[in-house]
Each structure stands twice: as structure tokens, then as C-alpha cells.
């Protein structure tokens, strides 16, 4: 590994100042499960690595208010999976977080890091998108928030600007009953990157959201407002047609994991399955918001 300088700021201001000073020559380090691999392969060659783990404002807790759960920048996947509130109110996110790597990875990898990495195949992205997550950023001039739906710009690219950090991620509580589910396809049953992943959220109003991963340059959020997908009286063919139209927004490619034809086929099969699971969860809810 090529060497680099290392900073361990102890305040947000210090961290932001360092970021501003070094710009693209700095690499942020939170959990390290992606960064350290890139440092080793030379995919990133920073002048300085900025370790955020001693910045108190970038905490590792999940804080609750009336309207939302706020996931701290340093919250690791394992803690998301274990948190009762996440499991009951955002089960698709807990499921997805559970699929990220192994327990060794989940004990280090942060949710914030996962979204900043902006891999099109990030497992947490689809549920975050259907749950309407909001990213709270901070920079030297102050905070700003972006809906996650506007956060991913391309493979490995986000809407973050130079000198910005993720401070937290908000999971807004639903205003109506809803059910959501997550599914992924992999090459083996054990730890694996997703061939594709999908989250689906169905609201009591019938509005249905899908978010797809690994089938476009970024995780993709689409919505069907007809209400037909959740309507038991609606015919199968019509539902399939709606699903096809939604899937038409994706652009799966062929790579070492799968061909684009297979990904297309999986999209349809898994859309149906994850839709059914989301509807089942919607019906299971007993007024829980």
C-alpha cells in the first residue's frame, strides 16, 4: 500500500477544514471496508486519509423524534440490523443491511459510507429510496439536506460537493400505513454482491414504489400511482404490464456476475415477489405508522 498522511479530527469544524484544504486529495475513512481495499489496490491514492471516528457530531447512534429516525453518520450496519425501531418500522432496510457482507463487515461498515460509495449495487440504497430517506449534509457554510432520490449521480458519484460530509440520514415515519420488502439475487447463498436487488413499498393509498439496484448507473426509484398493483381485483396481466413499464426505466448490463438478459428476467420475477411481500406486510400492519 502506498503511504499517506492520516488525520483524526476531533471536531466537525476540524474535519471540514481538513476536507476543504485537501479537497480531492483527501479520502474519508469511516468503517474502512471499502476504503482500505481501494487504498491497497491503489484505486485511490490520497495525500491524506481523514478518519472521522473521533468526531462527536458524527455519532453512531439512531435518534428518534416524532417524525423520523435519524441515523448518525457512523452508525454501522450491524447496529441498524439490531435496532428494534428499524426492524419494526423500516424492515426492508434492516433486511438489506443484514445482507451487506458478513458480520465482520457489518460491524464496521457505516450506512453513510455505503451511500457515499454510491455503488449502483449498494444493498441499502433501494430500501432507503422507497422509505424516502433524506441525507443531511454539512459543510463549512452550514447544513443542507437532499432527498436520497437526488443524491446518486452516477456509479461512485454523489451530489456531495467539495468540503461536504454526511452528518446523518433521516428515515421519515410514514403518514399512512405501508408495507415494504427487500430482495436480492446473488450467485451463491453465502456472502455476495447483489446481481440485482429490489425494494418495494406499498402504501395504504395504493401508491407503489420500487427501487432497483445493480441495473442502472445508480440505484433507481420509480413509482406507480395507479393503485392497481396493490388492488386484489386488478388482473394479473395488467399488473405485469405496469411492472414492465416500471422496469423499462432500468438499463441492466452484462458483467462478470450476470448477463443483462438474466438481470432483466430477474427484475420481473423479483418485482412480483417483493411486491407480494410488501403487500403482505401492509396487511400485517395494525395501524403501525
Amino acid at each position: 500500500m502506498r503511504s499517506f498522511a492520516y488525520a483524526r479530527p476531533e471536531s466537525l469544524n476540524e474535519a471540514l477544514a481538513l476536507l476543504n484544504e485537501y479537497g480531492p486529495a483527501a479520502t474519508i475513512l469511516a468503517g474502512g471496508t471499502d476504503v482500505v481495499v481501494r487504498l491497497r489496490t491503489g484505486r485511490v491514492l490520497p495525500a491524506i486519509v481523514i478518519d472521522l471516528k473521533r468526531v462527536p457530531a458524527l455519532h453512531a447512534d439512531i435518534l428518534e423524534t416524532d417524525t423520523r429516525l435519524r441515523v448518525g453518520a457512523r452508525t454501522v450496519m450491524a447496529d441498524l440490523v439490531a435496532d428494534e425501531r428499524v426492524r419494526s418500522r423500516f424492515p426492508a432496510l434492516a433486511e438489506a443491511a443484514h445482507e451487506v457482507g458478513s458480520i465482520q463487515i457489518r460491524n464496521r461498515a457505516t450506512l453513510a459510507g455505503n451511500i457515499c460509495n454510491a455503488s449502483p449495487a449498494a444493498d441499502t440504497a433501494p430500501p432507503l429510496l422507497v422509505y424516502g430517506a433524506v441525507v443531511n449534509l454539512v459543510n463549512a457554510t452550514g447544513p443542507r439536506s437532499i432527498p436520497l432520490a437526488h443524491f446518486f449521480k452516477g456509479p461512485g458519484r454523489t451530489a456531495m460537493e467539495r468540503g461536504e460530509l454526511v452528518e446523518s440520514i433521516d428515515l421519515p415515519f410514514a403518514k399512512q400505513r405501508q408495507g415494504a420488502a427487500f430482495a436480492r439475487a446473488t450467485r451463491r447463498l453465502g456472502v455476495d454482491l447483489a446481481t440485482i436487488n429490489i425494494a418495494c413499498l406499498v402504501k395504504a393509498s395504493g401508491q407503489t414504489l420500487f427501487a432497483y439496484g445493480a441495473v442502472a448507473p445508480t440505484p433507481l426509484l420509480v413509482s406507480d400511482d395507479s393503485g392497481k398493483l396493490a388492488d386484489a381485483n386488478c388482473g394479473e396481466d395488467e399488473k405485469l404490464s405496469i411492472l414492465e413499464n416500471l422496469i423499462a426505466h432500468t438499463a441492466p448490463i452484462s458483467d462478470v456476475r450476470a448477463s443483462h438478459e438474466y438481470r432483466e428476467a430477474l427484475l420481473m420475477v423479483m418485482s412480483r415477489r417483493v411486491l407480494d411481500a410488501a403487500i403482505a406486510r401492509l396487511h400485517d400492519q395494525e395501524g403501525l405508522l
Binding site: R187, R188, L189, G190, V191, D192, V256, R257
Partner: protein, 767 residues
Amino acid sequence: MKNHRFTGEPPIRVGGVERVTGAQRYAADLRFENVLHLKLVHLDCGHARIKSIDISDALKVEGVYGVVTTADLPQPVPRFGPTVMDWPLLAVNETKFFGEPVAVVAAETIDAAQIGAQAVKVDFEELPAVLSIDDALNPEMPLVREPELRPGDKFANTNIFKEWNLGHGNIEAAKSAFVLEHIYSFPMVTHFAIEPHAFIAAPDEDGVTIWSPNQHPFVLQKVVAATFKWPLSRVRIIAPDPGGGFGGKGWPLYESLLAFLALKFKRPVRLVLTLEETFQNVRRASARATVRSGFDAAGHLTFQEVSTDYLIGAYAAVAPRVVSKGSFVAGGPYVCPHVKIRARAILSHTTPSTAFRGFGTPQGSWGVESQLTEAAARLGIDPVEIRRRNLPKYHEEFVPNTTPCDGNWFEVLEAAADHIGWDTPLAKHRGRGIALGVKSSSTAASSQAMARMLFDGSVLILTGTSDMGQGARTVYTQLASDNLGVPYDRIRIVMGDTNVVPFDNSTSASRSTVFMGNAILSACNDLKSKFHDLMAKELDISADEVEVDSGKVKIPGRTMTFAEALKVCLPTRGEIIGLGTYSNPPVEGHPLGAHPSFWEFNAVATELEVDPETGTVHLIKLVVVSDVGEALNPLQVEAQDEGSAIMGLGHSLMEHMVHDKHGRIVNLGALDYRIPTIKDIPLVMESVFIENGDGPGPFGSKGVGEGGLLSIAAAVGAAVNQAAGVSIRDLPLTAERIWRAIQERSQHLEEPGKTQDSGLQADMVSR
């Protein structure tokens, strides 16, 4: 688990405590003073012409001690190899596989070596790379091996390294009710032992000591000595227990290069490969087999014609042996009047293939076993029944004029069918498959052992076996303890140093329990015999008045412990040394050099479910039955059988090395080369052994360890066929491949009049 052969409980695995406490020292854990760390320099493509190498920047890196290219090596550049000495220490003029080194950097720290390696500038020209069998046989593609290196070789101007023609009878004379012919492919896979390769060499007077976690230290010694034309006595191999071998740590790699560097630098040198470099250096030969099988109306084989091309890579290494040995039983464990086998070793610009558990047999069994199951469907016969009709009986020859069937193979088959519940109803989307595998163990080989009884009656057993997890130390402790009557904790097994232990051919071919086990018993008996004679002589009594047995020495009127007796017969102190040998002698003219010492025979049965919409396979049950003769340590036998089967699931369902057009391995490393994890195992697995005491090893034992892997692919393939109605003849059976086959089948069924591939589906669905 009760060990019925020996009295008392078997010992906890010898070396086990060290492994669970972290005390076990693997090669990369050894520390050396004044060592130079090495890093190989290799190119980012498979086949290239080296134009020039500029090491000036590398030499300027702080900590770099030296950079070696072919210019620094003796000319012509030394080459090594166990069959043909063709593999150069560093690439000569051209690199012939992705990962072949063109230079090596030596530095005081690993960091400096890495930075130095990155600073070496190689001017090269990428050349077209032969990456497949079709590439190799295409006359417009380059020759991998220079014709000048192959004088008098009829294949010199081709990429065929060698061809073997085996078999018996005359297939033209066969009369068949029907004939099946298909082409099967077996992928390129890599061993992925969890321990990457590591090598150290240090100068030792005018010779070298080499540390390498090598399965066959005496082969390594021979190869290194031959590379430099040294006497064997100048090369000492110390072989720490490997962290997994599977054949990948059997054959020489960088030891000769390190030997040269150690003597050049006059310092110890150390090379630890990354996992990626390990993948670049060891793999199984991939293969394509055309199998043509004839059957009579009752399902008896009338002929088998098997033509297999093995893609062996850039240098011969041990591939010729893999191909010839694997092909010897290409027809499978069946009685068949006419068998024609043609096998070819095909060169390519890829990693040289090496030994890998199964040694050429899995590649062949995939086709032959799949074909037998298909024939059964065609005939409306049960796949178990068709095998019953073709298996040889006890002592019946199936390959003429050599070792006959040496086990009750029917019993193995029945046990597999029974344990999988072969005749029980099957749920929707589920399938079952069964397959048999046979492999020749060692042919011409020998093992020697030494038993040293020290003055206090404790014992050292010196043996050249490599304990790479199969538990050899434990079994040898049991054998010696049982024979001598010395407790386990007063016996130590010494391995892994050619200066200390006597000769052993190899740790391969599942041979060690038989060959070395017998050699150790022979050494113990020799020890007792010498003890006996010494006592008689010292006490001046006749030989039949002395008894040495079960830890005691009895003479008229007195019974002594070994320690007491030793004091009597060794008045100036000393020890008693027993020597033992077990060998299988060469047979002139035999295609394998000698008759197989025994057959390793195994049956695999599996039940699985296929998700018809995604092609995903869920393994419900796996049964592995081995004909073991006598399980000297049942726990270890089971552990090996399970491991072998799960490893076989790898090439059956998920493993294959993928190259891009530049000859680079695309899925290089643990991220994209998928092996089975703890979540990928079948819900239920049973390991069964058949013990008829009919092996040549101690107490009628045979060798085990390769069994399940031999034929599991065909069992899985047959089950997928039944579950999803598709015939796939290429491994691995990934979800996508299964899905595609299901799509193609649906298309065909929707378009009447299009003939199906084999007509199999209609038959299979009905069962």
C-alpha cells in the same frame, strides 16, 4: 465416535491444540533473521513479448537490495519441472501466462519490495493469447511452445503437448441398440486453499534449505537439485504443514528461483504470494470431452468412446500425469467390452495446471456419469439400476489386465440410493441424482518410515507424509501406539524435513494411510524385532524366550516395561531404530507405470430444488458413500469426505475462472471467485462408509479423501435435470445457466416440430 479397530478412544487430532490456539506455525508465520523480502514483477496480460526491462528506478527505492531479471541468471535460463524441465525461473523472451514473472525485487521490507516492483518498467508487446481449446487448435493462433524446444516431437508445430491412446477391444465391432453422443465441458477452477503460497530459501553451506508448505518434499528436492544439477544431498526441504493443499501445494513453483537468489544474495529470501498471485499460479486443468456411448436394450454398455482435451496451460508441470491417469479410467467403473480413449494435453497461454484433488478424474466423470443417467432415461430404466447392470463384481476386471474391482461397489451404490431415499416421492421442482466415481490410487511408488524408540521407551516416528489437514499425524499415532503398546502421549510424529525423515513419494492419490501406514507398521515391527534380538543377545537366551509386545518385554520369570528392558539391552544407553518400507513396484509397459495399488470408489447422491423462475438451486440433501476398507479414524474420514463433497459443489455450481481477451483472469481474488460458504451447504448431509476390510492398508484400510468430489457434478446435474427438465453439459451449473436452459426449453416446447436436443425432457418429467 467409537473407533472399533483400536481399543480406547482415538486421540484428539494431533496438532489440533496448536491449530485452535494459534500456535501452529505455517510457512508465512516463520520468522528469519536478515531476510530479504521478494516481490514478483508480472505483466497485465497473458501473452507478451518482453522488449526491455528498466530496473533503474526500482533500484533507487529505499530498502530495495536488488532486482533480478533473466540477465542475472545462468544462461540458458534454468528450467524446472517434474516431468519435463520446461518452466523457466523467469519468463524468457515472452510471458506465457498472466502472472508469469519477468523480474523479482528483493528488499529489506515487504513495503519496499512492493514499491520496488511497481517501479520496474517493462516495455512489452501484447501478443494474441491462446485461452481455450478452440484457440489452441486453431492453426492461425500462435504456438505456445517454441518448436525448437520440441525436437523430434510430431506435435512440435501444434499446441498439442501430448496425446494418449488407451482402452481395449474394438469399438467398430460393437453392436448397440442406441448410441448417445454429447460434448461436456469442465471449467477451469483454482484450489483456493485458505493459506496462500509462501516460500523461503536460505543458503546452507554450498547448498540451500528451502521452506515450502509442500506436499511432496522429496519431489521438490529432486526438482530443485535437477534444475541446478546438484546432488540431492545439497538440497534440504523443510515443509511446514500446509494450510490446505488439495494438490496445489504438491508441485514446484518458485522454490528453484528462491534457491538461486539465496545463493546469489547469500541471505535468506522470502516470497509470500498474495491470494491473487496464488490464483495465477495454480489451477485444475479444464477439459472438453466428447463421449460416445453405446447401449443394448437392457442398458448394458456395448462401447464407450471418450475423447478428452485437457487445457493444461503454458508449461507441462505435472499435467501429463494428470491427463494420463485421469484418462486411464475415462470409461468409468463399468464393465464394457470395447473402450476407446483418446486424451490430449493442450497448451495455452494460461496458468500451468497442476494436480487437484481427483487428478483428472472429475473432468471425465462429469460426462460419462451424466451420459449413463441420460441413457437410463431413454431406456426407461432407473439410473441406479443401469449402474447395477454395468458395475463389475468383486475381483472382476473393468480395465483389462490390471487391478480388478477391489471392493463391493454394489454395496456402495445401494447405500447411496438408500440414504437419499431414492424411491420415495419427490416434491414439485425437486430432483435427485446419483453418480459413481472411481480413481486409481498410487501406482509405482514407495514410502519409507523410521521408528526410533528412545531410551525411555518413548517413540519418534519419522515420516515424509505432509499433514495438510487430512489428519495423517493422528492416524500414524494410532497405528504406532496400537502396534507398540506405547501410549499416544509418548509418541511423536516427525514430518517435513528431508534431512530427517526417510523417503516418501508424495502425499497424493489418497495413498498415505495405505503406503505410509504400512511402512510405519513395518518399521514398528522391525523395531520390535531388533529389540527382541538385542534382548536375547544381551541376556544370552534363545530368541523364542523373548516376547516384545504391547508395551512389555517378557522373558522367563520377568515382565518389564520397555524402559526397563532398554536399560538391560543397551548398557551404554542408546536407542532402537526400526525401518519399514511399503511399495508398489513398477510394471513394464503399463500405461500408468504400475498397477493401481487400489481403487478409490465413491457414490454421491443428491436431492435438490430448482426455482424455475430464477434457476437458483437449493440443496436439500447430499449423501456421500465411500468404500474405505476400514476407517482407522472415522471422525477424520467423515471430515475429509464432507470437505471433498462441499469442494465439489464448488465446481458443480459456482466456480470458474474467467479470462478476458487479454488473457487476464477477470475474477481474480476472493470477491468474484466464489467458493461455497457455510450458507451454501445442503440442509442435510450424510457421509457413509462401507467397511469390508478389503484394502491393502493397515487392517484392510484403503485411502480416502478424494471421493465425493469425483462425481458430485454429475449427481447434481442429474438432479437439476429432473427438477427443471433441462440437460446442461457445461459446468458450473450456475443459476443463470440453468435459467437459460429453462428458457430455451420453453421456447422449443412452444414451437412444435423443433427437435429437442436429446429427447430427454419428456422421459425425465414422467419419473
